[in-house]
Amino acid sequence: MKNREHMPLLEIMGINKSFGDLKILKSCSLNVRSRETMVIIGPSGSGKSTLLRCINLLEPADDGNIFFEGNDIARELRRAPEVRREIGMVFQNFELFQHLTAIENIMLAPMKVLGMSRSDAHDVAMDLLKKVRIPERADFFPDELSGGQQQRIAIARALAMKPKLMLYDEPTSALDPEMIREVLDVMAELSSEGMTSIVVTHEMGFAKRAADQIVFMEDGEVIENAPRDSFFGGTVNERATRFLDQILH
């Protein structure tokens, strides 16, 4: 039973994705084990967002397999809502529901998808607001909150479904520098508690702190996939090194 923990929660095998004539993902393969955090970096347009959107079936992959908990979900578009319950997603622009308060944003899916009662959903949401450290903002609307606060609410909203996997798509790149820290701290804490995560980010401080694996993508291909220490130890692909130099300067 012990090594069940280390069996891949997500196994992506050779997925391709094109938009029209444009090949966006070219035979991408990745494994994410339970409790692990994977950081994906790569230049703009390399297909990072598309890869995340294929994982939770927001975009159907053209071919290849995506095993989630051992089941191939790549072609299960009909079951997409069920799959997505188990996979939380956090967006660059937060995408909080503008007509709902912070706490209502968190309560909506547990109530409407899981059929939880209002009072149970409220308790869950309140706990999560404490977890992301803004319980005092529960009754504020999104446009009354700072970007950092909105993003932490968005993380809480995803967590309310008790996902087995979290996907973050550049969660801090729309934030003012002084707010990046508060969001990364929450994410790092979740990772250290064993929340399996895939994070697209260029925050190398976060990668050093929280990542188990680091993946470098370019032109729709996974160029490098290395454990954190060897990645930062410099024993990596030359293109990845060049990209790292660019973003660090």
Binding site: L58, A80, F91, L96, F97, A109, K112, V113, D143
Partner: protein, 242 residues
């Protein structure tokens, strides 16, 4: 000119009934018009090609011809196909279908104003497309749609006067008939005008209250919907919900 006669007309059963009928025509046509508009807007979102085509034909027919034409057509032409309708029913059908064609456009632009990312966020939480529509898109679109819908309501009140051509005893017809009996046009039309103004004022007040009720942020913010006075004097004033 006699203000006493104006007064008498305003309180006469004939004028009162006429105004009531005008109100009834307006409210029922609005009701069915909004349903038609919502159905058409959702069909256009649905990506089912034949249904989309059908809605386009509908919009083309009802936006491309005068309402007056539609009223007369439904009243006079449908009976030749064996569909017998009262003047009131034909009038309401014509006005509803016409209203639907305009409401569809308003509702559709409201739905489209809710950004794509909001739907994606709902889907990513495991919600079905229906739930996303019901709990995320429609509530946000409603706020955007409300101000132009209010203007449609007031427009409908005025358009309803056109159904006098098929002899529905609404306010304008009553006024006109009364006046042509004794040539006291000023008094009869003034009485009708008073009713129209009273009704539009009531509609605008309702619209104001509804917008205020939908704006849940009001207690904490000083932002207010457009005031009643502004509405009465500047009908086309843009009212941005955000």
């Amino acid at each position: 000119m006699s203000l006493d006669l104006v007064f008498d007309y305003v309180f006469s059963p004939a004028f009162f009934d006429g105004a009531l009928l005008t109100l009834l025509i307006t409210v029922t046509s609005l009701f069915f018009g909004m349903i038609a508009g919502l159905v058409v807007a959702l069909l256009q979102e649905s990506r089912i090609k034949p249904l989309q085509m059908l809605t386009l034909v509908y919009l083309w027919l009802f936006r491309g011809t005068p309402v007056l034409f539609q009223i007369i057509f439904i009243y006079n032409v449908l009976p030749t196909f064996g569909v017998m309708l009262s003047a009131f029913a034909s009038a309401v059908i014509a006005l509803s279908l016409n209203e639907g064609a305009y409401m569809a456009e308003i509702i559709r632009s409201g739905l489209q104003a809710v950004k794509k990312g909001q739907r994606t966020a709902g889907l990513a939480l495991g919600m079905t497309r229906f739930s996303v529509m019901r709990y995320i898109v429609i509530p946000q679109a409603a706020r955007i749609v409300l101000p132009p819908t209010g203007n449609q309501m007031i427009g409908m009140l005025k358009t309803s006067a056109l159904v006098s051509v098929v002899a529905v005893e609404e306010l304008l017809l009553v006024a006109n008939q009364t006046a042509s009996a004794n040539f006291k046009y000023f008094e009869a039309l003034t009485a009708a005008g008073i009713y129209y103004l009273a009704l539009t004022t009531i509609f605008m007040s309702l619209q104001y209250l509804l917008e205020r009720a939908l704006d849940r942020k009001r207690p904490r913010e000083k932002r207010r919907p457009v005031s009643l006075m502004t509405r009465l004097t500047a009908l086309t004033a843009k009212t941005e919900p955000r």
